[in-house]
């Protein structure tokens, strides 16, 4: 059985435990030792700053050094950082050690008071507010109240109006790309037109629409126009007649901008003929017109109808028949 003491009352507060003196409080030698330890810590910091200055001036900026685990790294930056880290860290250690060993460690008790104000203060506050409101006499002058309300309401509109010129309205922008019927496919990078024979079976190429001379290709264009060409054996397609007519000798073209959140769908697995978006792993089956077979995307990648022109170069047969990229409210398909 337990040997519980009779005096023990579990619910009574025994009060703060008695203060235990530290060695440095009673033994001057221990205190002296603690003082030395603190000083040594501060000295380490000083050495750190010296290392920092040395590294800043004398270690060449291109000097490389091998660090186990972390690999090869720039020695200049490394020792600058180590010096800085040492300089700061040991000031902190010194201060904390000082506080713990030599500063008073007597716990102090302070009394709390309730946050709530005294009742008479609250009453006085309410009276002041009512009195102030009465002096302003807003209630007795409805004309002022209403016109002020109108003025404040209207003035709140101006900041919103100010923001109008942040950008143009989207208009039909999101539904359109630079692809038109007859636009040549050009390599990205390189801007060279391509013939079907340039792409072998199993090959992939990124293309952009050819721009007239003088027109500059911006990132906004690339964000909408990027197209991925993939060539497989024609008999591997599993497409309806219309979609099949959009391909050319086994070459099929999809928008490279993911139909989920607009990342570039860049990973093509040749054996499975799957296209994978590295952002959220939406996976599209190339043989079935980029049908979504995995991941969060809800739509296939838009397919671009292609053919060849009189000179034998690949061209778009028609613009995209739907908006490319991520969905938006007004997207109608």
């Amino acid at each position: 059985m337990s040997e519980m003491k009779n005096e023990l009352e579990p619910l009574s507060d025994p009060g703060l435990p008695e203060h235990v003196h530290r060695k440095s409080d009673v033994d001057p030698l221990a205190a002296k030792k603690a003082e030395r330890q603190v000083s040594i810590l501060f000295l380490f910091s000083a050495i750190g700053t010296v290392l920092f200055i040395y590294s800043y001036i004398w270690i060449p900026r291109e000097q490389l050094i091998f660090l186990p685990i972390f690999g090869t790294t720039n020695a200049h930056q490394l020792f600058l950082g180590l010096g800085l880290a040492m300089a700061l860290f040991f000031i902190g250690m010194g201060a904390v050690h000082w506080a713990k060993t030599l500063m008073p460690d007597h716990e102090v008790v302070d009394i709390r008071k309730e946050q709530r104000s005294k009742d008479e203060d609250r009453a006085a506050f309410v009276a002041t507010v009512k009195d102030g409101a009465a002096q302003a006499a807003l209630g007795r002058r409805p004309l002022i109240k209403r016109t002020l309300g109108l003025a404040l309401g209207l003035v709140g509109l101006s900041p919103i109006l100010f923001l109008r010129d942040l950008g143009p309205l989207p208009g039909n922008d999101l539904n359109e790309t630079n692809w038109k019927a007859g636009t040549r496919l050009v390599t990205d990078p390189g801007d060279r037109p391509i013939r079907p024979s340039d792409l072998e079976v199993g090959g992939v190429a990124q293309v952009q629409p050819e721009f007239p001379i003088g027109k500059v290709r911006h990132l906004d264009d690339i964000a909408q126009d990027s197209v991925l060409l993939i060539r497989i054996r024609p008999e591997e397609f599993n497409l309806d007649a219309e979609r099949l007519s959009w391909t050319y000798e086994g070459i099929i073209a999809f928008s490279k901008i993911c139909s989920h959140m607009g990342c570039a769908v860049a990973l093509y697995e040749q054996t499975t003929k799957h296209l994978l978006c590295p952002c959220h792993q939406s996976t599209f089956d190339v043989t079935r017109a980029a049908k979504v077979i995995f991941g969060p995307s809800a739509r296939p990648l838009p397919q671009l109808a292609i053919t060849v022109d009189a000179e034998g170069y690949l061209v778009a047969k028609a613009p995209f028949n739907e908006a490319v990229g991520p969905s938006f409210w007004g997207r109608d398909s």
């Binding site: 040997e3 579990p10 880290a85 946050q115 690339i222 989920h260």
Partner: protein, 530 residues
């Protein structure tokens, strides 16, 4: 009087005669702070914020927030001659041609990760110990606002260098904005100044990143600290500590030295990480181009759970009447985070409603003594953790040779099934710990010493607890559940209807406890002895 005392006295006199600060300072310098390691978590948040301001200011001296196209000429050979934005070129310049620039960039990024991590752990401390209870609800809400702003601020920060990875993150953010019903594409065109990516967003998010959000955060942190100061810090329960007092060390000199020293320690550790641990090597990614991408694209960890939710979303979109609603983006990207942060902000009031306890609390709870709250915390963390795991599903798949399909289904099911399981398990553990506490107070600590009694029986010797320990284990308050019956004694249905029923249920669940030993128990035990 020594010369030093004369100067100090003169300065103090000068200031006091102009500000009357002596009285306030006297009180301030002797202000008492309770001591506990977990109270340093909030300090880490504040110090890393200061480090972010300092290192960030350094970076602004060279960073050029412009998307003007330039040709890179600098020390990093592989990118020489490559066309890129001035922002990316200047970030490369800081990394390779400014002495200490790479170090400072890495310190800035590490400090941001530490800032967010410390904030999350600090909030966990506050949550599990019930420090958010009245009168500190406002400070909890400020904390939730800071966490939200911190996530946005961090995201904008790593988007600034305009490398391929950061541009990909911005692209995803744009898709979320574009998915907002009715106004999405308009908002996107306003934010980006036209079609994505345009030529303006770097300078715009730069203004928001270095001025707007840090300014708001600074104001909120100031308000947060003023409230901590004014309301006095909470303290853990124990002998001599009550709701009416605060036990600890005075600000001067002990806390000044400890807290001031701790700032340098945090800064030192951050500098060490910045020196040895490479983070966000932008030069490897190359400049942003919307037609390109790197494999294994990952956000920073505090965005990872959001990305994980997006990755787990089923592919659902609604097309009707010429419009599209992308549930696969809206639900994980806006609706679930919105619900989570709203519930989090209002949790103090939800708990008050469940328990009916609207009194002030300054003594912290031991997590086991509030099993329901602790279980809710564990449940929420489990949800976030599963989402975070799914955010790294591609890396998990490649590193551990798993199929991405399996990980996704694990996450989809796990997000729904695991949090309730965590709730139940945590609650049971808490109740078991309460039972153990009760046993210890009533029968003492098990010593592991076996003794054979004269008649051959073996018993284990129990040692009584010290009065301090016994007090700690039995001093907590156990409130009864609210008495809202579904019908009163006359059979009249509860006038509050469904709401009352739900509240009664929740109240019963939140007050499920193992009753602690009472003085009655102790007396009976003693009677048994004699």
């Amino acid at each position: 009087m020594s010369a030093r005392e004369r100067v100090a006295g003169g300065t103090a006199n000068f200031l006091d005669e102009r500000t009357g600060a002596a009285k306030w300072m006297k009180k301030t310098l002797t202000k008492v702070f309770p001591d506990h390691w977990s109270f340093m978590l909030g300090e880490i948040v504040m110090y890393s914020f200061v480090i972010l301001l300092l290192s960030g200011t350094f970076l602004t001296f060279w960073f050029d927030p412009s998307m003007r196209e330039v040709e890179y000429e600098g020390s990093y050979e592989p990118l020489n001659g490559v066309k890129m934005s001035a922002a990316y070129a200047s970030a490369l310049h800081i990394s390779f041609d400014v002495r200490g620039g790479l170090l400072m960039r890495q310190i800035h990024h590490w400090a941001a990760l530490i800032f967010m991590a410390a904030m999350v752990v600090h909030m966990m401390r506050v949550f599990f110990t019930g420090a958010f209870r009245k009168p500190r609800e406002l400070n909890w809400i400020i904390g939730v606002a800071l966490l939200t702003l911190g996530i946005v601020e961090g995201f904008l920060g790593y988007s600034l260098p305009d490398d391929l990875l950061s541009g990909t993150g911005i692209r995803i953010a744009e898709a979320i904005i574009q998915a907002i019903p009715v106004v999405g594409s308009y908002l996107s065109y306003f934010i980006f100044g036209g079609a994505f990516p345009g030529e303006l967003f770097i300078q715009r998010i730069y203004a928001v990143h270095i001025l707007l959000i840090p300014g708001i955060m600074l104001a909120l942190i100031t308000a947060h600290l003023m409230l901590v100061w004014y309301q006095k810090h909470t303290q853990y329960p124990g002998p001599g500590r009550t709701e009416k007092n605060v036990v600890g060390y005075p600000l001067m000199p002990v806390y000044m030295a400890k807290a001031g020293g701790f700032f340098f320690i945090v800064f030192g550790v951050t500098a060490f990480l910045g020196a040895v641990a490479q983070i966000n090597p932008i030069w490897i990614f190359g400049p942003y181009n919307p037609g390109q991408i790197g494999a294994g694209s990952q956000p920073d960890w505090y965005m990872g759970w959001l990305d994980g939710l997006v990755r787990a979303a089923p592919p659902i979109e609604t097309h009707a009447f010429g419009i599209t609603i992308s549930w696969n983006i809206l639900i994980p990207g806006l609706i679930i985070p919105g619900i989570i942060f709203t519930l989090m902000a209002f949790y103090p009031f939800i708990e008050q409603w469940m328990t009916g306890d609207k009194r002030e609390h300054h003594l912290l709870d031991r997590p086991r003594n509030n099993p329901n709250r602790t279980a809710i915390g564990a449940m929420s963390l489990t949800f976030a953790l599963v989402a975070l795991i799914n955010g790294g599903n591609d890396l998990l798949a490649t590193h551990f040779d798993l199929s991405i399909n399996q990980i996704m289904w694990f996450s989809r099911i796990g997000l729904i099934v695991l949090p309730p399981i965590a709730f139940v398990i945590t609650k049971r553990i808490c109740l078991s710990l309460q039972r153990a506490d009760r046993e210890k107070v009533l029968h003492g600590r098990e010593t592991g010493r076996l003794v054979m009694l004269p008649h051959g029986e073996f018993i284990e010797v129990h040692e009584p607890l010290s009065p301090e320990k016994a007090y700690l284990l039995s001093s907590h308050e156990q409130l009864p559940a609210l008495e809202i019956g579904e019908a009163d004694e006359n059979g009249v249905a509860n006038p509050q209807g469904i709401k009352g029923k739900v509240r009664a249920r929740m109240s019963r669940a939140s007050q499920e406890q193992i009753s602690k030993p009472t003085s009655q128990d102790m007396l009976e035990l003693e009677d048994g002895h004699h």
